[in-house]
């Protein structure tokens, strides 16, 4: 932080918030995505519709929630629906524009693993599992994936494929019955990756200010494609940082 005046988490959240337009209907998990959406709502997207998996449609929390079931979400929701309704009518029904996903592992076609590290029957690390990830990745029109870029996370081969990004690339996602178009971007602590229009392989299209190409190559477990020329994101502006830090304070 000392060097740039902001942390890499803050940069991730601010970058994600910039993807969210005012009329977006956004499906949000807890953590960085929730912060990003709440930040966007206080900056450029006051009318954004925030949907949390617990069943709250278009909720307007005064403070960022601590869990998807936070009472603040339910008190401020336009509507609360049951879990089956959320998954059938809203997610699978294709009524959501943007969905956020996290991941323990991601591969070059933006498929993700949140289930196990190691062998499924005798895992090295048992992760929480799918939750809503399969349906978010399948049925939100676009998804945004947020995770740190390290060789442990950005892997050649997933230990387990929890939810499909672009499968084996190219058009292998089509024909799976999904309404969603797949990942729009992967937002890391180093920059942004976007799928190539034809092969759907992730390409590093943006670096955060001060991040080197060498650094992102080293942080990726496969030979990473990098856009030429590479774009550099703008640094967080004062308002973005101030509002974000106010939000974070509310969560203490």
């Amino acid at each position: 932080m000392s060097k740039t005046g902001y942390t890499s988490s803050e940069m991730m959240v601010i970058t994600a918030s910039r993807f969210l337009k005012n009329d977006a209907v956004v499906f949000i998990g807890i953590g960085l995505p929730s912060l990003a959406a709440n930040l966007a709502r206080r900056l450029h997207a006051p009318d954004i519709s925030m949907i949390y998996e617990s069943g709250t449609l278009d909720t307007k929390p005064d403070r960022p929630p601590l869990s998807i079931g936070d009472d603040e979400l339910s008190r401020k929701a336009l509507s609360i629906v049951s879990v089956p309704e959320m998954f059938c009518y809203w997610l699978q029904g294709g009524k959501i524009d943007i969905g956020f996903l996290g991941a323990a592992q991601i591969d070059r076609f933006a498929n993700i693993n949140t289930t196990v590290i190691g062998n499924y029957s005798h895992p090295m690390v048992r992760l929480p599992g799918a939750g809503g990830a399969c349906e978010i990745s399948g049925f939100c029109t676009h998804t945004l994936i947020m995770l740190r870029q390290t060789p442990r996370n950005f892997v050649k081969t997933l230990d387990f494929l929890t939810s499909v990004g672009f499968g084996k690339g190219s058009d292998s996602r089509s024909g799976l019955g999904f309404t969603g178009e797949g990942p729009q971007a992967v937002i890391t602590d180093l920059g942004i990756l976007e799928p190539s229009p034809d092969t759907k392989e992730l390409i590093m299209t943006y670096l955060y200010p001060g991040v080197s190409i060498e650094k992102v190559r080293k942080s990726t477990g496969w030979p990473l494609k990098i856009a030429e020329p590479i774009n550099i994101t703008s640094v967080p502006n004062k308002e973005e940082l101030m509002v974000l830090r106010t939000l974070e304070k509310m969560m203490k």
Binding site: I30, E53, S54, G55, T56, L66, S67, I68, G69, D70, D71, L73, S74, R75, I80, S82, V83, P84, M86, F87, C88, L91, Q92, T115, Y120, S121, H122, P123, M124, V125, R126, P128, G129, A130, G131, G132, A133, C134, E135, G138, F139, L158, F160, L161, T162, S163, V164, G167, S172, L176, G177, F178
Partner: protein, 284 residues
């Protein structure tokens, strides 16, 4: 049809070794008091079913109540790992349990199928993921009209469902509001059901919002104030985010976990004693 019982009586009467048991509450109204009472009565060999396997099942699994677990997400919400769940999955501690893992949509649809007396549910999903390789209960069929491939999972029809709600009336009708999750489906899918409530009132009413589950699908009602703690009951008390964070340290180490459970759960007679002790020790 509904009996008003103490939680101890209800667990004695309905929670038998070997049954399949769904305890639901999606981030709200989690039936924690019932879970602790099952631990207190040392009931074993349960097939546990729960979408968001969080602290309540971490406790039951860690104390050896479960032979099987069906779930679609297992973690400490907003905090991180569930250490007892990880210990059983990674090291078979305290013993091996059989895992039947799904995604949320599959379990939600399977509960709906159970409530609707269907043998299975169809939906879209799981295609090209690893789940069908590790779960033989995920199959695929063709839509007879479009030829499209659809995913099929068996209905969930538990022997017993336990949920927590805000209120029951004196006839045993249940009222709940706020995040309602999958609880109604769990009750309707189950052969028998227990509902713990914050209070018993003369009459419940949907006109103030919320939903009512009629008495004739509920076997036992138990009045257990604060029975969702550390989860919350909208209109009664908030989530103890602090306890969720503290659970991380309590549960991380096997012995620390066992000592804590012994002190607060096995050495207390019921949930109100448990809460009293927690308060005295500064947990609440």
């Amino acid at each position: 049809m509904t009996e008003f019982l103490s939680l101890r009586e209800a667990v004695q009467k309905y929670v038998k070794p070997g049954i399949s048991l769904a305890m639901e509450g999606f981030t709200h109204l989690i039936p924690h008091a019932a879970g602790l009472e099952i631990i207190r009565q040392k009931i074993r060999h349960l097939s546990l079913i729960r979408m968001t396997t969080d602290i309540v099942y971490d406790q039951m699994i860690g104390m050896g109540c479960a032979d099987k677990l069906m779930f679609s997400w297992g973690g400490n919400p907003g905090v991180g790992s569930l250490h007892r769940l990880r210990d059983v999955a990674e090291h078979d501690y305290p013993h091996h349990i059989e895992i039947n893992e799904h995604a949320h949509a599959a379990m939600a649809n399977a509960y709906v199928a159970g409530a609707s007396n269907m043998p299975c549910a169809i939906f879209k999903g799981y295609r090209d993921t690893s789940y069908p390789e590790v779960n033989p209960n995920i199959r695929f069929i063709q839509c007879p009209f479009t030829g499209e491939t659809l995913t099929v999972v068996p209905a969930i029809k538990p022997d017993l469902a336990i949920i927590h709600a805000q209120r029951a009336d004196k006839q045993g009708n249940i009222w709940m509001r706020g995040i309602i999750g999958i609880q109604k489906e769990a009750i309707l899918a189950a052969r028998q059901s227990i509902v713990t409530v914050e209070e018993i009132v003369d009459q419940v009413d949907e006109k103030q919002g919320g939903i009512v589950i009629p008495r004739w699908v509920v076997n036992a009602v138990c009045c257990v104030p604060k029975g969702a703690f550390p989860s919350y009951t909208e209109g009664y008390y908030n989530r103890s985010n602090d306890f969720y964070v503290r659970w991380d340290e309590i549960s991380r180490d096997r012995q620390r976990f066992l000592d804590w459970m012994d002190k607060f759960v096995l050495s207390t007679n019921d949930f109100s004693e448990f809460m009293f002790k927690l308060e005295k020790q500064g947990y609440v």
